[in-house]
Point group: C2
């Protein structure tokens, strides 16, 4: 529909609304018709309908949502921690000292317990190694590329599909009632912004989170903002109301969270004058999601649950109060890959033109479709979608080192060949052939010993 | 108009817009039809009209405006500095040590040169003494009360009337074209928020500024955010693009400023892809406002002017490019007060019931209508509007100490009497009588020796 069509439709909608000729549809179809849904609908009606006791002008309709465990899942670990680990593995070739330096050595060996044994210091080291040192635009690009292929270790879904359908509906319901909806998360502010508008409909200027310091500078005549390896603000617990005041300057009308990290934000919200609404999501659904609360190492809900009950805040039991948990579109099963494909492969030929002898170009395929390797110059990784003989490489992320001209040329031919790949076959010698959509062989690999 | 009426009107406007049956009116009537106006209108049309080469979707239409010297005046000193000085004078009775402690002693003696001689350290001391130590809500209230009566030392206008009419029109023109307009100022973020929506139509969540640190805590069961005497962020020069990224997370399309403090914000804006617009306001109008640039101690425009010319940014000469400078409503002349009223007065009687002997309640009236005094318990100040025999006390701000019950009772009777005052007269003995709107005497004063 063109712009004019949109406007005319918008006009029609306004007219229908004003004249009341609209059949009411359920704004929260994924919620069971239990107390939490009734409470939230009653609250929204109370503050938005002129003449109601609690009517609140549009400019004061501020809603704040936690992210991890509230809008998307947070098990078995915060998704941002997966970004940190993926990124360490990706850029490890640029940091040979990491092979022996903790916590990186443990990450590279896959020993997460040892990696996190260093506590807060180790965490900060990993955070800064993966979040600082780039410009804001480079970091945005990294996050964007990562979210396009990062999948959940248990469900195999894209992480950005591990969002709660009932919460997507609640966000939309509030926006339809002219609320301005913010994320207020302990997660990194610039880690969220690249994808929150696409996934939640929440624009970057309505995302509040933890941050590191930055510095504006002119590089070769080009202004950039550089991300520095120094913490700026932790947007958790007592930090949340302070950040809300700093970014918004108004007290929220409605706060939604799932852990003790959200308690102060709720206290601040609840203490405002007039009607206020606090909602805790309680993870009670081991079948469809996870069940955890007072003793969880991630997203602990202990003091918050006690206070919510004492103060009569709304507590949503995922198991009992949500009809569905996940958006329908993401119900696709995770890919599983033929065992014969899994392993490490060495490129022998690119489009019949051979390869440079001195350059090892590799491709490693995991059982879940994760791919990684080295072009001979740069490390790369990503996700392949594999279905029988079909194989399609999703967006690949790569380090950005420059090499000799011939090597760069081969790298470019190799990545182009991967992009053009449509199917695969294993020949009688055990070689892996990748073919384009015309059936021509674009890449030949031999299996490497592990 | 009720809500339904608003919606129907909105619908009509949309329809008229779509069908094009609207007579165009000049969106910038206070601008002369010179190059700057033509440039800004051409830019806005280019980025907002579908089909134009530079069309930009609504979500990316971000505009940033400096405040001091860009939206309101900044001479003879930043208005926030006037707040600092007023506040020091107001709360001085609570800090007897300030009589001898610099920089406060000099402020109280009216020696501003000596007060600022201590440089940055003295400035910080004054800033923290007046900006920290309260809750965010208390501070908001202080600022609100101050802006209701703070007047400009030269023009006598309310400071919030010392705003530029052409800029008010530009803000509205941008909003009409679906820009989201932000303030990005070196001024205090919480110093601006209480009044920017009323004065500029810019809501608190679109105000970015310098800040001190805060702390959330529960006081007697009530959650508060406390303002701490520690700098958090200076939103000036290279701080501005960093703050824009932190608060908005998008690069602006349009930046407006008036000093070297805005240069980096402009560089950051100009370096974005596609069409961008930078506008410098050059203070060239000694007659209607002030003329200053490369050598000014406030709002210096030196490097910025050079770069603007070199890069072809738009430079507005206030003298040449603005038809009018100030909003019409504020064209009222400053009040001048009869010399016979000016001076310090002692309360002798409140509504015929006498006064407590041991309590001195005083009223000082300045030539510009400023009033101050002591209730016997608390220091207060504010502004009186005086016209011939009419006298009306504007909102008075006051310290909040508690005294003995009888003293508090008298204080309350005194302030109530001031509120009810409608006129004054001087009797034959030189006593000052204040009368309510029924002509009854509510207060009698005798003149005190200076």
């Amino acid at each position: 529909m063109n712009r004019r069509g949109h406007l005319l439709l918008g006009c029609l909608v306004v007219w229908l609304w004003v004249t009341g000729n609209v059949v009411a549809t359920d704004p929260l179809p994924s919620w069971n018709d239990t107390l939490p849904k009734q409470a939230v609908v009653a609250f929204v009606q109370n503050v938005t309908q002129q003449g109601k006791a609690g009517f609140v002008p549009v400019s004061d309709r501020i809603a704040v949502f936690d992210n991890d465990g509230t809008l998307w899942a947070e098990q078995p670990m915060y998704f941002q921690a997966m970004f940190v680990l993926d990124r360490i593995r990706l850029i490890a070739p640029e940091h040979p000292q990491w092979q022996t330096e903790e916590p990186f050595a443990s990450v590279l060996k896959g020993d997460m317990k040892a990696a996190f044994a260093g506590g807060e210091h180790a965490l900060l080291q990993m955070l800064m190694a993966t979040h600082a040192g780039t410009t804001t635009e480079e970091f945005e690009q990294m996050v964007l590329e990562w979210t396009q292929q990062a999948r959940h270790p248990k469900t195999g879904k894209l992480l950005t599909d591990m969002v709660y359908q009932p919460m997507l509906e609640l966000l939309q319901y509030l926006r339809d009632n002219l609320f301005k909806v913010y994320i207020v998360s302990g997660g990194g502010i610039e880690f969220m912004r690249p994808w929150t508008e696409r996934v939640y409909g929440i624009p970057p200027e309505q995302v509040i989170g933890s941050s590191i310091k930055t510095r504006f500078e002119i590089r070769d005549g080009n202004p950039v903002i550089v991300r520095l390896p120094e913490l700026n603000f932790i947007d958790d617990k007592a930090g949340k109301p302070a950040a809300i005041q700093h970014h918004i300057g108004r007290r929220p009308l409605l706060a939604v969270g799932n852990s003790d990290g959200d308690l102060q934000m709720m206290q601040w919200t609840a203490a405002g004058s007039g009607p206020r609404f606090c909602l805790y999501l309680h993870h009670t659904d081991a079948q469809r999601e996870w069940a955890y609360d007072r003793n969880s190492h991630v997203g602990r809900l202990d003091k918050g649950l006690t206070e919510a009950v004492a103060k009569g805040w709304t507590v949503v039991s995922m198991k009992d109060d949500w009809r569905t948990v996940w958006p329908e579109a993401s119900a696709e099963p995770a890919d599983t890959v033929k065992p014969s494909l899994v392993g490490k492969w060495l490129v022998e030929d690119i489009r019949g033109a051979g390869v440079l002898d001195r350059l090892q170009t590799t491709l490693q395929i995991e059982a879940d479709g994760a791919v990684s390797g080295n072009t001979g110059v740069n490390q790369y990784c990503g996700q392949a979608i594999i279905d029988k003989n079909q194989i399609k490489f999703g967006p690949l992320v790569s380090t950005r080192r420059a090499g000799p001209e011939a090597a760069m040329k081969q790298e470019s031919q190799y990545t182009k060949a991967l992009e053009e790949t449509a199917s695969h076959r294993l020949d009688s010698n055990g070689q892996l052939h990748l073919l384009d959509n015309e059936g021509k062989i674009v890449l030949k690999f031999s299996r490497m010993n592990d």
